[in-house]
Amino acid sequence: MSMLRVLHAELLKLKRTLAFRMVFVMPLLIALLQFFALWRSRTFGADFKLWETLPTNMLGIWAVFMMPLLITLETALLNGIEHGDRQWKHILALPIPRHTVYLAKFVVAQALNAASTLFLCALTVLAGLAIMQLRPELAGSGPIPYGRLARHAALVWLAAWLIVAIHTWVSIRWSGFAVALGTGICGTFFALFAASASVGKYYPWLLPMNVFSDERFAAALWLGAVGGAVAVLLGCLDFVRRDVA
């Protein structure tokens, strides 16, 4: 019950915040980029398949770059509003278990990430339909692969749990925006180098991308989702024991 009450309060806190707007802005950026790239493309090869290329590109950019960035910003903003006026001392003096407060923050970050990923899927479909209208040679691209799109989006989201858990802990543990942003930027930046290395199989910021690789798929899901669940519990344990300044 207390979890539902805290989540209800978290919803109100999101009102008029950048955190809420980012949910829509980030997928829109990828959709516009892909839409213009395909619309303005001079020719399409004979083997070009719109409903394979477009979802793969959209979810690929999302998994490796935009989603980690979104998670960084969302968690930093969500928890930054609690550091601003040192709200923790008010919230944690209320008759609510501390672990509920922490887990609610994780759930909200996860929900925003899920909503944003879902919005990306909707934009993928819209962008594809628009391109089919604007480029007659692609008009017969076949049915929209709703099932595959939904499955891939869900896998990417699941594999990102570890990133969400890490950022939830970092952005609650340190009050400065710089620490949270620094962690996200470094994590995403080093992913570029880790991608081709064997360590890339276990690198948290690459896990959402790894679900598209047969060889790395199992590790990505296990480490991403189960590792994420373990990480959020460890972060929660730290939060529950910590003094409130």
Binding site: R5, A9, L12, K13, R16, G84, L92, A93, P95
Partner: protein, 309 residues
């Protein structure tokens, strides 16, 4: 109703090598205002954070409403409202929305928001965003947050900090009304005695983590009664003579003595004792000690004994 709304036993907390709160035994009686006094850095905020369960004590225990806090914090905190230092507000939300956030967390009825706004007189500004609020309005909204759940005990840490004289006056009036009109016990910290002496029935004075005094203002005054200022030709011999006779004596910087005698009969006895020893008394006068002087003396703000005695 328990005798004490707040009772701590041997409450101790260290930060590294520094002992922030040392063996603190607070007893705040029900109904009324308890002033928790001490200079900045005396350990007030650390003690209050332990009362609210925000930090854990190294030793000792906190009892609220006669029950140990450690055993069931959730249930006890339902009956407590708190405002620790500056109010914790979301500037992008309106005053009412700020209260709504806390109301949702508590699962309290909506009507309590209007009640809290009414008590702190913020109903008219409730729909404005908090970033437009003055410091005084923010402080009142902080108090409204603390009052939201109709608490029996209100714990406030320096609620007038940073307010202008009008804001301080307003806050003081508000706090004075709470016990009488709503039956709330108010536990209030401050570094200024003048801020609480008009509203607090009981006070506790903390300095360097230790409780130096606890009781009513009149008890504090009676423990530090007026002293005699004494001028005598041979001060050292007079000190020896008076000390041997059981009087408390302090030598002042200006060469006069301060004697722990209070009544006019005492003055006569002191005079007779000294003249009997062939010492020449040229000055003998009682001096009142103000509460502020007592507070400053206790907390080492100034050596008021020398000035006031």
């Amino acid at each position: 109703m328990p005798e004490f709304m707040i009772e701590t036993r041997g409450l101790t907390r260290r930060f590294g090598a520094q002992l922030a709160v040392d063996d603190l035994n607070l007893q705040a009686p029900a109904a009324g205002v308890y002033g928790f006094l001490g200079p900045n850095g005396a350990g007030k905020t650390t003690a209050i954070r332990m009362l609210l369960g925000l930090i854990r004590p190294d030793a000792g225990e906190v009892n609220l409403f006669g029950a140990p806090l450690a055993a069931d914090r959730q249930t006890l905190m339902r009956r407590v409202g708190a405002l620790v230092e500056a109010p914790s507000l979301y500037p992008h939300l309106t005053g009412r929305e700020n209260l709504e956030v806390t109301r949702r967390m508590l699962g309290a009825p909506r009507a309590l928001i209007d009640r809290a706004l009414d008590i702190v007189k913020l109903t008219r500004d409730a729909r404005r965003r908090v970033r437009e609020y003055s410091l005084g309005m923010r402080q009142r909204l902080g108090l409204a947050l603390a009052l939201l759940n109709e608490p029996e005990l209100l714990i406030l840490d320096e609620p007038t900090n940073g307010l202008d004289p009008a804001g301080i006056h307003e806050m003081r009036d508000l706090l004075r009304r709470l016990p009488a009109e709503f039956g709330v016990t108010v536990f209030l910290s401050s570094h200024l005695l003048s801020e609480v002496e008009q509203i607090a029935g009981h006070i506790g004075i903390i300095h360097e983590g230790r409780l130096l005094f606890q009781g009513t203002l009149s008890e504090l005054q009676s423990q530090h009664r007026a002293r005699l200022t004494l001028g005598v030709n041979q001060s050292e011999q007079a000190v020896h003579c008076l000390t041997a006779a059981g009087w408390g004596v302090e030598m002042r910087d200006d060469g006069l003595l301060s004697v722990s005698a209070t009544t006019s009969e005492d003055a006569v006895r002191v005079n007779n004792l000294l003249t009997g020893q062939r010492l020449e008394v040229f000055h003998l006068a009682p001096a009142q000690v103000s509460l502020e002087d007592i507070f400053l003396t206790l907390t080492g703000g100034k050596t008021a004994a020398g000035r006031a005695a």
